[in-house]
Symmetry: C2
Subunit: 408 residues, 2 copies
Amino acid sequence: MKNIIVGQSGGPTAVINSSVAGVYKKAKELGVERVYGMVYGIEGFLNENIIDLDDYLNNDENYELLKRTPSAFLGSCRYKLPKIEDNKEVYEKIFEILDKYEIDALFYIGGNDSMDTIKMLSDYAKENNKKQVFMGVPKTIDNDLPITDHCPGYGSSAKYIATSLKEVIRDNASFGVVKPTVCIVEIMGRHAGWLAAAAALAKDDTCEGVDAIYLPESKFDLDEFVASVEELAKTKHSIVIAVSEGVKTSDGKFVCELSNEHIAVDAFGHKQLSGCGQTLANIVATRTGLKTRAIEYSTLQRAATHIASLTDINEAEMVGMKAVEEANNGKTGMMVIITRDDSNGYTSSADTYDIHDIANVEKKIPLEWIDEENKQMKEEFIKYAKPLIQGELAPIFKDGLPVHLIRK
Amino acid sequence: MKNIIVGQSGGPTAVINSSVAGVYKKAKELGVERVYGMVYGIEGFLNENIIDLDDYLNNDENYELLKRTPSAFLGSCRYKLPKIEDNKEVYEKIFEILDKYEIDALFYIGGNDSMDTIKMLSDYAKENNKKQVFMGVPKTIDNDLPITDHCPGYGSSAKYIATSLKEVIRDNASFGVVKPTVCIVEIMGRHAGWLAAAAALAKDDTCEGVDAIYLPESKFDLDEFVASVEELAKTKHSIVIAVSEGVKTSDGKFVCELSNEHIAVDAFGHKQLSGCGQTLANIVATRTGLKTRAIEYSTLQRAATHIASLTDINEAEMVGMKAVEEANNGKTGMMVIITRDDSNGYTSSADTYDIHDIANVEKKIPLEWIDEENKQMKEEFIKYAKPLIQGELAPIFKDGLPVHLIRK
C-alpha cells in the first residue's frame, strides 16, 4: 500500500483516537508512505479536507497524547452516503479523490451507520473494478455492533459510569436524618441498554450499588416505577436509580416524551432524546412528595478520557492495527471484530468479518442477563463487562490539567 | 484534651474527608485518647449517633483511603441550631452528651451555616462557663467564606470543572460541517460565581476554552444572551458556554424559574435550583433554531474525588490539623483560615480567626476580576485559582474502580 486514509464517524468515544493511533502505527511498520486523515469524516473528505498524520504523530510524545485525547481528533460527521443507484456522482467523486492522493486503503472508525459507509464503498469498488480496499474499525460506546464480542469505547464509558456512580451514591447518602433522597441517573443508549447496565458495576466491596436499573430491553411501567421507588423509600434514606435514555412506556413512547420538550430528529432519523431522568424525577416528586434529583451523564460518559480503561485503549489500538494488517493482505469490505478468551483470565484478539453481516444490525443485551424482578443485572453480565474496565492510563498533566493533542 | 469529636455539615466536597483525616492525625499526635465522629453532623450527635474513629483509621491504608473517599464519610446534615434564647434545651442536651463522653473539643467541618453552629455553641459555652472549646474547619465548593483566602473543596471542584470542560469542548467540536452546536454547561453556585468562574481555567495550550461565562455577580439579560449566542454562531461551529445556576434576570428571577418547574425550598430557605442550563438551551433553540445541548454538573462537581486537586487535599488536611492544634492551645469560637504567599511560587499556611466575623457572611468574586465585555475572567482570577488545582492524588484502584472507605 502506497498511501492510506483514516476517518472517524458518528458520536465520539474516550478511545476513538487510540484506533487512529493503531492505524498509523501499523501503517508505518508496513512502510506505508503517507497516512492521511480525513477531517470531519467522509463529509470532510468530499471537500478534500485532508491532513497528513506525519505532521502530528512523528514523535512518541504526541502518539501518547493522542491516546489520551477525548473526542474525535480528526473530527467526525453523521453523513450518510446515498444508495449507489441514487447518486453515482458522490461515489465517483470519492474515488477521484482517492486516486488523486494515490490512496490504496480507506479505514473508517465508527458504529452501525459508519459500517454502512464501508459496505457501500467496498461494494462500489468491486462492481466498478476499483483497486482500493475498505475496512471498518469498530467504535461505539453503545456496544451494539453485532458479531464482535464488544466494541472499543464501551469499556471506558462503562468505567466512567461505574466510577462516577460510586461517587454519586456516596454523595446521595450524605444526609441521613432528613427524608429520603431519590437520585435518578440518566445514561445513554437509544435502543440497547449496555451502558445503563454498566451501572451494575458500581456495586463492590466499598459500594452498595444502585437500587435499580431500567433498560430499553425490559418492559417499563410508569406506575410500577413510582410504586417501586416509594417501596424503597420505606427502608432507605438514599435511593439511586439508573435509567437508560431509551426507556419506553407500554404504549411505545419514550419517557422523555412525557414531558413537553421539543423532540428533534438527527440526519439518520433518530430522535434526539434528553430529559428522561429529569422527567421521571419530576413525576416521582409530584406523586410521592419525595425529594428527587436527576443527573444526566450526557456527553461526559463518552468524553471522559481522563478515567478511560487501559484495556479499552489497548483494544482500540489493536483493532486499528489489525485493520491495516488485513488491508495490506488484500482484504476489503470487512470490519475488525474482537474475540474473547476467558479460559485463563481475560484475553482478547482481533479478527475480521464480512461487513454485510454487520452494517445496520443492532446487538441488544441478552434478556437472560437481566434480573427483571430485582431490577438488576445478573452475574453473566458482570462477568462479561468487568474485564473491559480494567486498568488505567494516567493522563499527562500540565499545570493541573490533562493535556490533549489537537489539530492546528 | 482527653477526648474530642468531629462532625461534617452541609453539602459534601471531594476533600471534606481529608479534614477529618487531619483532625484525627493531629489529635493522635497530641495524645488525645478518643477521637469521636458524629454521624450526620450535629443532628446525629443529638441522637448520640457517634463512632470512634480508631475503629476505622487505625492503619495507614485506611487513612489513605479516607483522603480518597468522596462525600461526607461521617454523614452530613443541614440542621440549623435554634437561637439560644429560643431553645435552651437543645444546648443543654448537647453539653450533656459532651460531658457524658468526656469530650473537651468539638470540630465542625462546614460552610457558612455550619460556622453559625460553632459561633452559637462557643457563645453558649462562654456564657455558661462550660470548659469545652469549639472550632470551625472551613469547607465549601462555593468558596464563599470570608477572611480565608479560599476554602478547601473549591480547588478540587475547580479542577473537575476545568478537566471536564476540556473534554466537553473537544466533544462539542467533533462535528464540523453541520450547523453550529451550542452546549450550555450549568455550574453550581447560588450567589457567588467562584465555581462558574473556574470554567476559565479550561483554556490552555491545548484548549480554546469556553466562549462565555455568566456569573451571578454580573448582570444577565436574556435577549442579550440569545443575541450573543447568535453572533458567536456566525463564525464558530462549536460554542460552549458556562452558566452559574444562580444567574438572574434583571427583574430578579432565577433563570430556571423561567421554565415551569417546581421550585422547592430547603431547611435554610434556599431555593433548590435546577435546570438553568436546560432552560437557556431550550430558549436558544426555540428563538434561533440552533442545535443546543445542556449539561448540568450537578453533584458530580463536588463528588469527583478521583480527579481531586492534591493541593486541595493537603490544605484540607492542614486546616483539620490546625484546628486541633489551636483547640489544644485553648482557643475557641474560631475558624481556621488559609493565607496565601505568592512571593516565591504559591505556598499557603493556616491561621485562626474569630468566628463572629465569618458566620453567615458570603464572599463574592471581586467585580474587577470579571471582564464583562468579553464575558470572560480576567488574569487576576486565573492567578488566584490556578495554584488551587495543582497536583493529583491517584485513586487506589481495585478491579478497575477507585476504592473508598465507608462506615460499617
